[in-house]
């Protein structure tokens, strides 16, 4: 077995120390973030503002959110961990109708529960797009849908993988925080589509 030269041994040791320091700082950051939610007196808002009426069908979507790809559809924003890449957070844009439910209820749950690691790449909100093969706009076009943990739960997969960005299996924590045990936060889960399953997709409408 080849011996590592003393020079490379020093660099390996330094790298190990650096990794420990980074992990410590990430832990501090997560703790501080979780501390924010609790210390600030965060709580759910399950009023009619917090969990608003969930529409049905195309006309319901238009009535509640405006037309597809309208100028308000990406006017609300929330920072999510691992949105852009694993352990690289980013902003997720969506319709203001859902600002409290997403920005306070769902994001607050994740932070207050110390579950940032359960979120995995990628997390997406508004996108002006059409459904595959059809003339219907995607629900993302209204800013009324969010995809999360996309990489481990691709379109067409028939089950949910609860492995988060931290490598741990969090079970159904993420789906439950979006859809809830009934009534929860009332997002309709793509794993419940009777056609092609979409396990990373959560939308605020049924029948469309």
């Amino acid at each position: 077995m080849a011996r590592i030269s003393s020079g490379r041994a020093h660099s390996h040791r330094a790298l190990y120390v650096l990794m420990v320091v980074v992990a410590f700082l990430v832990g501090i950051s997560s703790s501080a973030e979780a501390g924010h939610w609790a210390a600030s007196g965060w709580s759910h808002d399950h009023s009619s503002s917090g969990i608003p009426i969930r529409p049905k069908g195309f006309s319901g979507l238009n009535n509640r959110f405006g037309g597809a790809c309208n100028s308000s559809a990406d006017d609300a924003v929330t920072w999510f961990p691992s949105a852009l890449d694993r352990n690289v957070g980013g902003y997720v844009y969506y319709h203001p109708y859902l600002a409290v439910n997403v920005g306070n209820n769902i994001r607050g749950h994740i932070g207050n529960d110390h579950k940032e690691g359960a979120v995995d790449y990628g997390v997406y909100g508004y996108a002006c797009r059409l459904k595959t093969g059809g003339t219907q706009y995607s629900v993302h076009s209204w800013g009324a849908a969010v995809d999360t943990n996309t990489a481990r739960n691709p379109y067409g997969q028939t089950y949910w993988s609860g492995v988060g960005a931290d490598g741990l299996n969090h079970g159904n924590y993420i789906p439950n925080v979006w859809k809830g045990p009934n009534p929860g936060h009332r997002f309709y889960w793509g794993l419940n589509f009777s056609g092609t399953k979409d396990p990373h997709h959560f939308q605020y409408v049924t029948g469309y």
Binding site: A32, E33, S43, P52, S59, A99, C128, T132, P183
Partner: protein, 434 residues
């Protein structure tokens, strides 16, 4: 025949659209959509079976649209309809459409031999007939299925290797089908459509050939919808293009594929899709009410003429998709009423209160930069926040300015007010929760 398009010169749309409200969920079409209670059955003696006219669907009714606006209505004669969609007819051959059920669909074929329902194991879409009576459709967007009129056998042709989906087949020759293929785009999840091209499938050779060369750069997408065979053997299709990150609907264009070469015919004025060619006339499905029902319009060269409501190859508008109404969390209890405390819910801090809704201006890379802008907009220095103070509103390492939204105030109104007050920062303002 050289087909001239009404929008080739001055765009002049003449649609005599009666005031029709959008139908809610249920079996009743919008008022004024159908002329009579449909007592005639779409059986082997009907125009549906003969493929006479352009077939269109209004809820459970099949409407055969003839030249000059004559509409003959027929009742679906097959199994219990859940959602009828995607219909096509071919003169002298017949009519085919999809009975969309939660889960497995049925493809319905009506010819002079009677009605046949082909039970499929998944989602069927876009049935199309050949001149010899063969029938093709897409199954689960993953493959094409072709039923032979000669012996009734059904063959399956999988999508091109590496492709994500295949749909909208058109018989463009005795042994060839041209279809729309969804192609992968680097970095995209494949959920929803980003890039389409036309491909031809040679049945005898069992091989695919790419016919068009549209591209996507990830944000800008390019799609193809409703290809239709014209009388001269060329293929007309609608192309859509947009930036998915922009809050702006796509542009619509009419294209023609002729002898292997695709060229743009014209820009289209709005959301409209090809419906088919029948009796020498080109028909469109038009969204005349900006989100209402689909209308059929006959292309008269210099103008469009309304031919009543009905959808052909377009997806239904106001009927609920039976695949998206069931399962956990779909219960309607909360759909028409606001949220609130439900019996059995276990939330220790279930308090309805004003949360920290705010309009945010950011991000800034330093506190100093944020303070400078804050001074420029006369904002209180206490309105500076960072990630530690607002982890859901500001990225790590960044700063932002916030205007808290008063309880009861409309967030969108506040956002609009601040964008108007400070237009130089309008593009960096959003609603968020602190």
């Amino acid at each position: 025949m050289i087909r001239r398009f009404w929008f080739a010169g001055v765009v002049l749309v003449v649609l005599t659209v009666s005031a029709i409200g959008a139908a809610g969920p249920g079996r009743q079409p919008p008022p004024g959509c159908l002329n009579s209670v449909s007592t005639r059955s779409a059986d082997e003696e009907s125009d549906v079976a003969r493929g006479r006219g352009l077939a269109a669907l209004v809820e459970d009714t099949i409407v055969m649209v003839r030249e000059g606006g004559d509409r003959q209505e027929y009742r679906h004669a097959g199994g219990p309809p859940e959602l009828l969609r995607h219909i096509s007819s071919l003169d002298g051959v017949g009519t085919a459409y999809v009975n969309d059920r939660g889960g497995a669909d049925a493809v319905v074929l009506v010819t002079g031999d009677g009605l046949m329902e082909i039970q499929e194991p998944g989602e069927a879409a876009h049935p199309a007939l050949s001149t010899t009576g063969d029938l093709a459709w897409s199954l689960d967007m993953a493959s094409l299925r072709v039923r032979s009129a000669a012996d009734g056998t059904i063959s399956t042709f999988t999508r091109p290797e590496g492709a994500l989906a295949v749909f909208s087949p058109v018989f463009t020759g005795p042994q060839e089908i041209t279809a729309v293929v969804q192609e992968p785009v680097l970095g995209d999840s494949g959920h929803d459509d980003l890039l389409n091209n036309l491909w031809r499938y040679d049945i005898a050779a069992a091989s695919w050939t790419r016919l068009t060369d549209f591209t996507s750069d990830g944000d800008r997408w390019s799609l193809i919808r409703t290809p239709v065979l014209d009388e001269d053997g060329s293929l007309l299709f609608v192309r859509l293009e947009a930036l998915w990150s922009a809050t702006q609907p796509p542009t619509f264009e009419l294209w023609r594929l002729n002898q292997g070469s695709a060229s743009k015919v014209s820009d289209l004025p709005g959301e409209m899709f090809l419906a088919g060619v029948s009796e020498g006339r080109l028909y469109w499905n038009v969204d005349a009410d900006n989100g209402g029902e689909w209308r059929v319009a006959e292309d008269r060269g210099s103008r469009l003429e309304d031919r009543g409501c009905g959808s052909v190859a377009v997806d239904p508008r106001n009927e609920l998709d039976p695949d998206l109404v069931g399962g956990e969390g779909s219960d309607p209890a909360g759909d028409s009423s606001p949220g609130g405390s439900y019996p059995g819910e276990r939330h220790p801090q279930e308090i309805a209160q004003a949360v920290g809704l705010a309009v945010k201006l950011g991000d800034f890379s330093s506190r100093r930069e944020a303070e400078a802008v804050g001074a420029a907009v006369a904002l209180d220095p206490a309105a500076l926040v960072n990630h530690r103070m607002a982890p859901g509103a500001v990225a790590p390492g960044a700063w932002a300015l916030v205007w808290r939204i008063a309880e009861g105030a409309d967030p969108q109104t506040e956002l609009a007010r601040l964008r108007a007050a400070f237009p130089q920062y309008a593009e960096r303002m959003w609603i968020t929760v602190l």
